[in-house]
């Protein structure tokens, strides 16, 4: 049952036997935020929205005038506490849907979506224990929903974000992450720049490797909830390293973004 009202009182019903979340609904684009030179966030108002959990995603469907349809999935970047749904989309050069969403879509346009989908890759502040997030490129999106949820409540459970990007210009939500860290001593953000680093960069250079994980981690004894999201090769490599470092495989949740990417 949904009780409409302000977001703080929203009832999030994750009743898997209901197919309501699989019905298409229209959302209106209320704002478009430029995150980087190839990434934008779309802020959407979906009046029929029944709430979601941090980490879930939606399906988006586009219909051309000739009836052709294209469908893609995008993680919800906004926390359940926010009124507007946020999707953060990276323009893939050869893409069919992402160039439309990033270059063409405007405030006032409508977008068909359905969801929320996925009960597996979900974290809420109700879950006890440290939170360890590991993001590759645009894999930061569902993890940002979790961090924003944690920030809104607020929850001060210890949290660590390791975030791998190609260069400084590719870091999504950079200012927001800096601000979160500034107001929360229990949040650590460890960025890694894999291809290009500014001369004065004191952060990690190159890919996140076993040493990086070991240097900053929550030790296995603390049973952190671990979420890894990004391109498939990134996710599989990191998961493998975590298992080598003795983390319980069932505590590691993964979401793979496409067969290639980044």
């Amino acid at each position: 049952m949904v009780i409409p009202g302000n977001s703080r009182d929203m009832t999030v019903t994750d009743a898997p036997s209901s197919s309501k979340r699989l019905e298409w609904q229209l959302a209106e684009v209320r704002d478009v935020v430029i995150e980087t030179y190839r990434v934008k966030s779309l802020l959407l108002l979906a009046s029929g929205w029944q709430g979601h959990l941090p980490g879930q995603h939606i399906d988006v469907r586009l219909t051309a005038e000739n009836g052709y349809q294209a469908q893609r999935s995008y993680s919800i970047a906004s926390p359940p506490e926010d009124d507007l749904l946020s999707l953060t989309v990276e323009r893939v050069d050869d893409g069919e849907v992402s160039p439309y969403l990033v270059d063409e879509l405007r405030v006032g346009d409508r977008l068909e979506l359905r969801g929320p989908i996925g009960g597996y890759f979900v974290w809420t502040a109700e879950k006890s224990g440290p939170l360890w997030l590991i993001a590759g490129g645009s894999g930061i999106t569902p993890l940002m929903a979790m961090l924003r949820h944690r920030d809104r409540l607020p929850s001060r459970a210890p949290a660590l974000l390791m975030y791998s990007s190609r260069s400084l210009e590719d870091i999504i939500y950079r200012d927001e992450l800096d601000a979160m860290v500034g107001r929360d001593a229990n949040l650590r953000v460890v960025p890694a720049l894999t291809r290009q680093q500014p001369k004065a960069w004191t952060g990690h250079r190159g890919r996140i490797d076993r040493a990086t994980l070991a240097a900053h981690c929550f030790p296995p004894a603390q049973s952190p909830a671990i979420y890894v999201c990004g391109p498939t090769t990134f996710v599989e490599s990191i998961s493998g390293l975590l298992v080598e470092l003795d983390y319980d495989p069932s505590s590691i949740k993964t979401e793979r973004f496409g067969p290639s990417g980044g």
Partner: protein, 206 residues
């Protein structure tokens, strides 16, 4: 019944091609080479690789990589068509034709009317022998003049370009002759048993 809303300004990237003598119905031409696999890409060392022809319990022939490379090589330029609707024109492949494999094992004709191709990752696909002989099929080891990349089926894949490309099994390891036809991986999951792109035989019953 509500109409599906049109997304303002959205143009499909791919336009369905008007059937020509080169593009089967329902296909679009791509310059990409999309990768579709039923499992993770295996990284096979050629020093460990063998390929066999089999009939029942007997081995008709088995080759190591060096032996296979020493077989007569044929190069073809052809178009390929995937059941997921993309077609790629003028692709060049090099390998050993099915005809030459039969010759190598001393057969003037195939010992049975059907084959099952067995590939890494428990992938299989069935093809009538009639669709392999007369130059219609080969075991390919080069694409565009270079060794086939692992993601595209290297070191060796079956190539039967006149059928939908799922029949060109990647990472082929053995070809087993069968007296009776049996359905392979996709053929046993609702896809068409034969797969002629010109008749749009994508699914069982088409």
């Amino acid at each position: 019944m509500e109409e599906t809303p049109i997304s303002r300004g959205f143009r499909p990237k791919r336009q369905e091609q008007t059937p020509t003598d080169r593009v089967p119905p329902g296909q679009y031409v791509t310059t990409d080479f999309p990768v579709l696999s039923a499992g993770p890409t295996p990284h096979i060392k050629v020093t460990d690789w063998t390929f066999a022809l089999q009939l029942g319990g007997s081995l008709l022939g088995k080759w190591s990589w060096a032996q296979f490379e020493a077989l007569p090589q044929t190069t073809i330029k052809t178009d390929i068509h995937c059941v997921t609707k993309w077609s790629k024109l003028d692709t060049t492949w090099q390998g050993v034709t099915f005809d030459d494999l039969l010759k190598e094992v001393g057969l003037s004709e195939a010992p049975a009317p059907y084959v099952m191709a067995h590939c890494d990752g428990a992938y299989t696909t069935n093809v009538p022998v009639a669709d392999l002989v007369g130059g219609r099929g080969m075991v390919a080891t080069r694409y565009g003049g270079l060794p086939i990349a692992p993601a595209h089926g290297g070191p060796a894949r079956l190539l039967v370009p006149h059928l939908y490309f799922w029949k060109s099994g990647k990472w082929v390891r053995r070809i087993r002759f069968m007296q009776k036809d049996e359905r392979g991986f996709w053929e046993s999951l609702g896809y068409h048993n034969y797969g002629d792109p010109w008749k749009q035989q994508r699914y069982d019953g088409d």
